[in-house]
């Protein structure tokens, strides 16, 4: 079985660890616990005809990807940039951040995610998506919305 490394990046408190926990263990813990350094988890996903081991690197929250230790990015196959839809600061200068990520690995696909969609007022998800066209997926680690889809999408992008 092939293994592919995905690095999750973004500001602190955007829910990177919660997204991974929801995806790998299907649980959500409401308490915010700051990640320092890096946590690595693994989960197998099935795409149409293949099984892939996703090795997911959950990095420490940082205001800029420049703050990431370059060693963490060794052998990365895909990036997920996570924002918090309720904190505009977490998606300021997004394009600049994505460009920086591309310099580490030009071939690695990047998905941008707006997490905490459960905090948006009811019935405004569609509007929020339109207001934030730079986001690929809106997710909620809390209720699990689009989390599975996000990682499956990334797996497909990596093997395609």
């Amino acid at each position: 079985m092939i293994s592919k490394k995905i690095v999750i990046v973004g500001h602190f408190g955007v829910g990177k660890s919660s997204l991974i926990k929801r995806f790998v263990e299907d649980v959500f813990i409401d308490d915010y616990k700051v990640t320092i350094g890096v946590h690595i988890l693994k989960k197998t996903v099935k795409t149409s005809d293949k099984e892939i081991n996703l090795i997911i690197w959950d990095t420490e929250g940082a205001e800029s990807v420049e703050e990431l230790l370059p060693a963490y990015l060794l052998g990365t196959h895909g990036f997920i940039f996570v924002c918090d839809v309720t904190r505009p600061k977490t998606f300021e200068n997004l394009q600049e951040q994505l460009d920086l990520l591309s310099t580490f690995n030009k071939l690695a696909p990047i998905l941008t995610v707006g997490n905490k969609s459960d905090l948006l007022p009811k019935g405004t998800i569609h509007e929020a998506k339109e207001a934030m066209p730079f986001l690929d997926v809106l997710t909620s680690a809390k209720d699990g919305k689009n989390v599975q889809r996000l990682f499956e999408k990334m797996a497909k992008l990596i093997i395609s």
């Binding site: 408190g13 420490e60 904190r87």
Partner: protein, 504 residues
């Protein structure tokens, strides 16, 4: 033990060296921190070690990974290329250190995230407030024009020859349109009060006159409902006091309105009690007894058993909300109690000042009789682009027989007219074809002929906020007639601003 041996032991205390093959298989390990057997694959122990294949594939010589979580412990990990297809993994335990660091980061980030979220929530609230204000402004504007027509025309109809039944029907229309106007004013007032953007006046006023006006204003409504209205005031309450007369009157009026609404033919009593006086400050309790008053939950202080009847939650509760906000501004409070029989008592506590020296009472301005008949017509420009409002103004003026009117809905035509003809007065709506009245008046003063640059301008406005009304006055409008208006209000205002001898 030799120093070099001690040095070696302490220097390597938290370290583990693992010799590996490029495949990740263990060749040799000192097992100081984690137990591995020969030929174990590190990748199977933890997914972090999947990095080994990338390390060798990319021909790296040495890489350091700080703060890596491995099965509940935290390590700094180095991978060193030792030989072709062989390397060494060095683990340095840092669990205690990094856990301490985590606590510090936790505190810092929690506070930063909290502030950012708070900032965002404030932004949303601000946007909502702005939307609400815009909505109330538009809603008020849209309702005032048609309401002006109803109010003015029904007032005109009342002066014509009607039979008893017709008169009673028109009176009902007048009364209800007046009520709608009050509700619109209340909604606008409440939105202003919630933002605390009004300031209170501190002027001397005759409190007993105010009570008398209140009695006259509510007597008719009480009679209509078959209710006996009583107003009692402690004899120690001073006649002249200092405060915002209009707002105090509004507080008492709202309390009475609420009580009358639920009176069901029973007695309604408004009492003013003198609580205490210190120096020139006086504390009053204004209380209204109401037989079957439904008190909105937010004003209740007791555990009353009166059911909350949703059908009865209406405009009078809006009045109570305004009263509460007004009292808050006046450093007062609103409370209520009720019993099982449905008798309720609503109390407003308010602080006022008693002046050390009473100033002279202003002379009442004589009202101009609107039945006035002039031999020469007053030439009026009506600048208004809203059909219903044009019709209302024209009808009101023409039916008095004293006016020649010209209506303009295009600012260009209006400016041309004021250049070439002479008029006596201008009536102008808040805006005409997107041009604000204040701006337009400036243009009339600038481009109009000498005569027209001096004639009085009166605004017919749907705006009602005090700051907006001040703007009109600053711009040179002599008066502002708030929509909806009655025929009498328009005629009195115009007559007041003209030298009528010229037209007699």
């Amino acid at each position: 033990m030799s120093i070099s041996k001690i040095q070696t032991e302490f220097a390597t205390q938290d370290l583990q060296f693992i010799s590996i093959h490029a495949s990740g298989a263990v060749i040799e390990s000192d097992n100081k921190l984690i137990q591995f057997k020969k030929q174990d694959f590190l990748q199977q122990f933890h997914p972090f070690f999947e990095i080994i294949s990338s390390f060798f594939e990319e021909g790296k010589k040495h890489m350091s990974f700080k703060c890596v979580y491995i099965n509940g412990r935290i390590f700094d990990i180095d991978i060193v290329d030792n030989d072709t297809e062989k390397g060494v993994v060095i683990l340095r335990e840092g669990t205690a250190f990094y856990n301490r660091l985590q606590e510090i980061a936790q505190k810092r980030n929690e506070s930063l995230v909290f502030n950012e979220v708070l900032e965002f929530k404030n932004e949303i609230l601000k946007e909502k407030e702005e939307f609400k204000d815009r909505f109330i402004g538009n809603f008020s504007h849209e309702l005032r024009n048609p309401l002006t027509l109803i109010t003015a025309f029904s007032s005109m109809l009342l002066k014509s020859d009607l039979n008893v039944e017709q008169e009673s029907l028109i009176e009902s229309i007048v009364s209800q349109s007046h009520r709608i106007k009050e509700i619109i004013d209340d909604i606008v007032d409440l939105s202003i009060l919630k933002r605390k953007t009004i300031s209170l006046e501190q002027k001397q006023f005759d409190f007993y006159n105010l009570l008398e006006d209140l009695r006259i204003n509510h007597q008719t409504r009480a009679q209509e409902k078959g209710t006996q209205l009583l107003i009692q005031c402690d004899p120690t309450v001073p006649k002249i006091m200092m405060g915002d007369e209009r707002r105090i009157s509004q507080v008492m009026s709202n309390l009475l309105e609420h009580a009358l609404h639920f009176s069901e033919g029973k007695e309604v009593k408004l009492e003013i009690l003198d609580n205490q006086r210190r120096a020139n400050k006086i504390s009053l309790t204004i209380q209204v007894h109401c037989v079957t008053g439904i008190i909105p939950q937010k004003f209740k202080n007791d555990n009353t058993t009166i059911p909350k009847d949703k059908n009865n939650i209406n405009a009078s509760n809006l009045g109570l909300s305004i009263t509460e906000e007004l009292l808050r501004l006046m450093d007062g409070s609103l409370s209520s109690t009720s019993n099982e029989e449905g008798h309720s008592l609503i109390q407003a506590k308010v602080k006022l000042f008693v002046p050390f020296r009473v100033s002279e009472t202003p002379v009442a301005i004589k009202k101009v009789r609107n039945e006035l008949k002039l031999s020469q017509k007053i030439n009026v420009i009506i600048a208004e682009d809203y059909g219903v409002a044009q019709l209302t103004a024209v009808k009101v003026l023409v039916s008095s027989g004293n006016f020649a009117t010209e209506v303009y809905s295009d600012p260009k035509d209006l400016l041309e007219a004021v250049q070439h003809k002479e008029y006596d007065v201008i009536l102008m709506a808040s805006s005409i074809s997107q041009i604000d009245a204040i701006e337009l008046l400036g243009m009339i003063r600038e481009f109009g002929n000498n005569h027209n640059s001096k004639i009085p301008a009166i605004a017919l406005s749907t705006k009602s906020k005090p700051e907006e009304l001040k703007e009109y006055s600053k711009a040179g409008f002599k008066d502002v007639i708030k929509k909806p208006y009655t025929d009498d209000e328009v005629l009195s205002t115009i007559y007041k601003r003209l030298n009528l001898k010229k037209f007699k």
